[in-house]
């Protein structure tokens, strides 16, 4: 076991745990943001540099600080390590820079992007980014490539996290897509068009942190915050398919099926394409109940930002109205109950 101090909080974790996972054991909300690291995918991480943290003391044996910021998702803890995440101004400054770098070539088409509302980059930029840009140049674009009948590739939105490459590598036999080219011209590609065709290819949609890979059967149907996630399962005949999914309802209709995400937004159980794309009737599934949604998520709030009521207005309201509002969650009463 190794005892580390993370942002002033002491925690004991097994040897070999990464800083990221130690922080997640503490509380997923305190952990550094992860744009490329994905726990179930071996070899992922270290690329986006969003999770850089400062190691103020390397270990009990060698308490010198590490010379550079380290990627918390791939750096294992040492006994006596002191890690600074949000408590280090340097880390927050660098993170601001990383957001900027990720966004300079990202199209910012959130209003028409299917991922909006459950997009890691959106969350990351909302939390750490600036509201202005210093980038005056033309954004990088790519030719549209059709990679298959079920999955839509928007290469301009891609942040090259390599998650989909690892997914295809580790889940399916014979990966047919990968990264072509280099530098800011590198792209996810299949080289041969319209070729992705295997039972587990749909999982690349779930692992994609942005809207680069989206479900063609769900395209433009609904904004995610107008749908209701419900957990369900079925007996799937496909080998290795977990059959445990989240159904996204709008009224009585199942608009899409995804893998079940845990509190860190990661899918731990992969599902097959039959479950994902073909079983869109409630009768196909055994419903378990509403899927847990984080309170801060726009999916639960139906709003990007909760409106905060003016103190003066609240003070003038009749007591019954205030009570009524407090019991009705869509509005948050600034200063009253929050």
């Amino acid at each position: 076991m190794a005892k580390i101090t993370y942002d002033g909080i002491e925690i004991e974790v097994p040897d070999g745990t990464t800083i990221m996972n130690a922080a997640r054991q503490l509380d997923g909300k305190l952990a550094p943001p992860a744009m490329c690291y994905y726990t179930p995918l071996k070899g992922s991480g270290g690329k986006c540099r969003a999770c850089l943290v400062r190691v103020a003391a390397g270990s009990a044996k060698d308490p010198r600080p590490m010379p550079k910021l380290v990627a918390s998702c791939i750096t294992p803890v040492q006994d006596g390590m002191v890690v600074e995440n949000n408590s280090s101004p340097q880390v927050l400054e660098v993170r601001k820079g990383i957001v900027e770098m990720l966004l300079i070539n990202h199209p910012l088409d959130c209003p028409v992007c299917d991922q909006a509302g459950e997009c890691s980059l959106q969350d990351f930029a909302f939390e750490h980014g600036l509201s202005t840009t210093r980038y005056e140049e033309e954004r990088r674009t790519f030719d549209k490539v059709d990679i298959g009948p079920l999955i839509q590739l928007h290469m301009t939105r891609c942040i090259l996290c390599y998650r989909c490459v690892y997914t295809a590598d580790q889940l399916t036999d014979g990966r047919v897509h990968g990264v072509l080219g280099r530098g800011d011209a590198s792209e996810i590609g299949t080289y041969i068009e319209n070729i992705i065709d295997n039972d587990f290819s749909g999982n690349v949609i779930d692992v994609c942190p942005v809207g680069a890979l989206t479900d063609k059967t769900w395209r433009f149907k609904q904004r995610v915050w107008f749908t209701k996630p419900v957990n369900a399962h079925r007996d799937c005949e496909t080998d290795q398919c977990a059959g445990r999914v989240t159904l996204w309802y709008k009224g009585p209709e199942v608009l899409r099926v995804t893998g079940r995400k845990d509190e860190n937004g990661e899918v731990k159980e992969w599902i097959c394409n039959t479950c994902r794309f073909d079983k869109k009737e409630t009768t196909d599934w055994t419903i378990e109940g509403p899927a847990p949604v984080d309170r801060s998520s726009v999916v639960s709030a139906n709003h990007y930002e909760l409106p905060v009521l003016n103190q003066q207005v609240i003070a003038d309201m009749p007591a019954s109205t205030v009570r009524e509002l407090a019991q009705n969650p869509p509005l948050k009463l600034g200063g009253l109950n929050g």
Partner: protein
Amino acid sequence: MGRKLLTEHINVEGIDTMAVYRQHGGYRSVEKALKTMTPDEVVEEVKKSGLRGRGGAGFPTGMKWSFLAKPEGVPRYLVCNADESEPGTFKDRQLMSKLPHLLIEGMITSSYALGANTSYIYIRGELLYVLRILEKAVAEAYAAGFLGKNILGSGYDLDLHIHPGAGAYICGEETALLESLEGKRGNPRNKPPFPAVSGLYARPTVVNNVESIAAVPVIVNEGGEEYAKIGIGKSTGTKLISACGHVKNPGIYEIEMGVPVEEFIYSDEYCGGIWKGRELKAVVAGGSSVPILPKSLILKTAAGEPRLMTYESLSDGGFVTGTMLGSGGFIAMDETTCIVKNTWNFSRFYHHESCGQCSPCREGTGWLEKVLHRLEHGHGQMHDIDLIVNVAKQIEGNTICPLGEAAAWPVTAAVRHFRDEFEWHVTHPHEATRPGAVYHGGLVLA
């Protein structure tokens, strides 16, 4: 004239053949090492020699060798990094094409010291003709019994393979090189683990530059202490410097460490001064990625000491007033050189060569290139100058491999030392974009 340890016989007719190379004392180190020395003794000699990595970072080779993990029953590898592609550096190409057997001799002796039974030379893809020369030399070495099973009856086996890259600068980074050698996309790996623990095929691996390995036979033949007598302080031995740019005699020079920079540029023995009777303006002393220095700072340190061609003297003053010896790609620029254009050119190279794996480098190198392009072409604004410095800072230190730093350093150094020239490009866009226009203290030389 200093001693030449590597290139003494470089101009001998037919030195690239086994017979002639043997006549000039070739493969003595293999015989000496395999017959009279244990591997640890060879490592010890290299340690004593104080040899430092010639690829750019200057890490002590002997120390690198002693870090190699040696678990029982697990093969170890020696990989020679011949992916020389730093702009301004062309020393290894010459060494390999003229003296292929020197590298092979070094590979055998070094592999023996490290206990590697399979070794690789990863050569830059563009150097196809050198690959042919090396392949011929390797075949000769096999025929003469210096490679293969039971070399010289010592019971030591070694197979040497030559592998060409496909033309990527990033594959000169050691872990990207190993990935490429394994047949994958040449993306640098996250470190740790370092190659000394888990390198090629996840086995302990040492990656050394061509020049470092070529120095090993000399060290074994003459002894490490003898080698360490050349040079100053921790910079021992000789170094190949590839001088290019606006000097009278560009080319490759083997210098003893410690030659003053002024002598190197102006002496007829070396570069012979600046061409066309012009003035020196700036020097990039160790390949395009090291900080550029103006004439005043390259000839003398900030403290007023003469600057010498050593690792320590060139980096005197840190990055504020110093630079690095790097890989020895010495680029001299005369007074007609436009620093903005030059910086843009370097930046364009790094933009093109970034592997695109980690975000600061992938996006930042492109951003730098575009803003510098604007500045050079008269569309820049004053705040762009601070912008490129800031973007460079955001890249530096936050990337997986040193390419990010290599892209950032030339930009920050150029702005640090030549800010007025950048500002002139903003304030006088019409003059600055005239063909051949050059900033010269407010004057325009056409």
